[in-house]
């Protein structure tokens, strides 16, 4: 049974004014609530992210810290780490992606099913970081779309968790079907 608090939370979510909200009748308020289907699905989605750690470098070690007991990412519903792209919906790019790795990243991303989200963890994945060098990709957004960038080299576990929370907020705001044409414009 979903509690009244959750119902109230839903009511606070901003929605377009055109959407009619039908409140339950007075006697039904104790055990029922109404919401939009999209909100409900996004609520489920954001709290059960299955991350795919695309770990290449230092940030992957910090991610180990995130999933281990001290920081415990399962508090945010994202502890089911899957190494198969087909079983996961949130890709965490942890570490430097070099030119040689680029196609691999792209292929793994393409294998993920919609809806899928990408967090670029660390400055290397976000922008190349301080590796302004001949073999380092200057940010993974050159080949795949990125939802959240987490700064830091490497980010602290708090930083990575913060990035995940921002992604959850973003998921809650989004629609059921994501427009995925964006990356066709910027990617190759």
């Amino acid at each position: 049974m979903i509690s009244v608090e959750i119902y109230r939370n839903f009511m606070q979510i901003q929605r377009p004014p055109t959407t009619p909200v039908v409140a339950p009748s007075e006697e039904a308020k104790d055990f029922a609530f109404t919401t939009r289907l999209a909100d409900f699905i996004q609520w489920g989605r954001k709290n059960s992210l299955w991350p795919l750690p695309f770990g290449t470098a230092c940030c992957a070690i910090e991610y180990m810290g995130v999933v281990s007991s001290h920081y415990d990412v399962s508090r945010f519903g994202a502890e089911v780490v899957r190494f198969s792209p087909r079983q996961s919906d949130c890709m965490l790019v942890l570490g430097t992606v070099v030119e040689k790795m680029g196609p691999v990243l792209k292929q793994v991303y393409d294998q993920m099913l919609e809806p899928k989200y990408v967090i670029a963890v660390g400055v290397c994945a976000s922008s190349g970081g301080f590796y302004r060098a001949y073999h380092v990709m200057q940010g993974i957004d050159q080949i795949i779309p990125v939802d959240v960038y987490v700064p830091g080299c490497p980010p602290t576990p708090e930083g990575i968790i913060h990035g995940m929370i921002r992604l959850q907020e973003k998921i809650q705001r989004g629609g059921i079907v994501r427009a995925r044409d964006r990356h066709k414009l910027i990617g190759k």
Binding site: E99, K100, Y134, H135
Partner: protein, 177 residues
């Protein structure tokens, strides 16, 4: 001065007298800087020399620690040739180190491979080829090891700009092992 970083030189004066006498005509110079002994040698008989050092009776240099190249293009001091290949050998029984340095010309950067003397040399030579373009003759598959296989040029040469990226165009393929 701090002598702790590496093991000290083989001996204080002659370093490796057996080696020096066996290859007297090949050794161009001997350097001793901060306790690091370096023999500057001609590149032609490198395999023999390495083999000699590996089987040296008194202190067999049984570990090849490092093999890499140098580019002296922008050096302030005049060097005999643009490139050099440096061999860093270590003798486990006597805790001694020796460095061999062979200059190779820019027009024909070539030296014989020692992959069958030390198994370790295989990848190190590939790396030197990848980053500097030094050809190791006799190497079984001298191919790129660190850079992607569409890379043009040799990035650690001094005339290669550090931020000149090269995009990899094709998708995943083997580099031919």
């Amino acid at each position: 001065m701090q002598e702790t970083g590496t093991s000290s030189s083989v001996s204080n004066s002659g370093m490796l007298p057996e080696f020096a006498s066996a290859f007297a005509s090949e050794i161009l110079a001997t350097e001793d800087f901060r306790g690091d002994v370096t023999y500057v040698i001609k590149p032609q008989r490198i395999r023999e020399m390495i083999r000699f050092l590996k089987t040296l009776e008194r202190c067999p240099f049984n570990v090849m620690m490092d093999l890499f190249a140098m580019d002296y293009l922008k050096s302030n001091t005049e060097m005999p040739e643009r490139f050099a290949v440096i061999y860093n050998l270590y003798s486990l029984p006597s805790n001694a180190r020796v460095r061999l340095k062979a200059y190779v010309p820019e027009a024909k950067p070539e030296i014989e491979s020692i992959h069958d003397v030390y198994k370790a040399a295989n990848w190190f030579e590939r790396e030197a080829w990848d980053l500097f373009g030094i050809t190791f003759t006799g190497h079984p598959h001298l191919q790129r090891i660190l850079c992607h296989n569409e890379f043009v040029g040799h990035p650690l040469r001094k005339d290669y700009p550090s931020d000149q990226y090269q995009r990899l165009k094709t998708s995943i393929r083997s580099t031919g092992m």
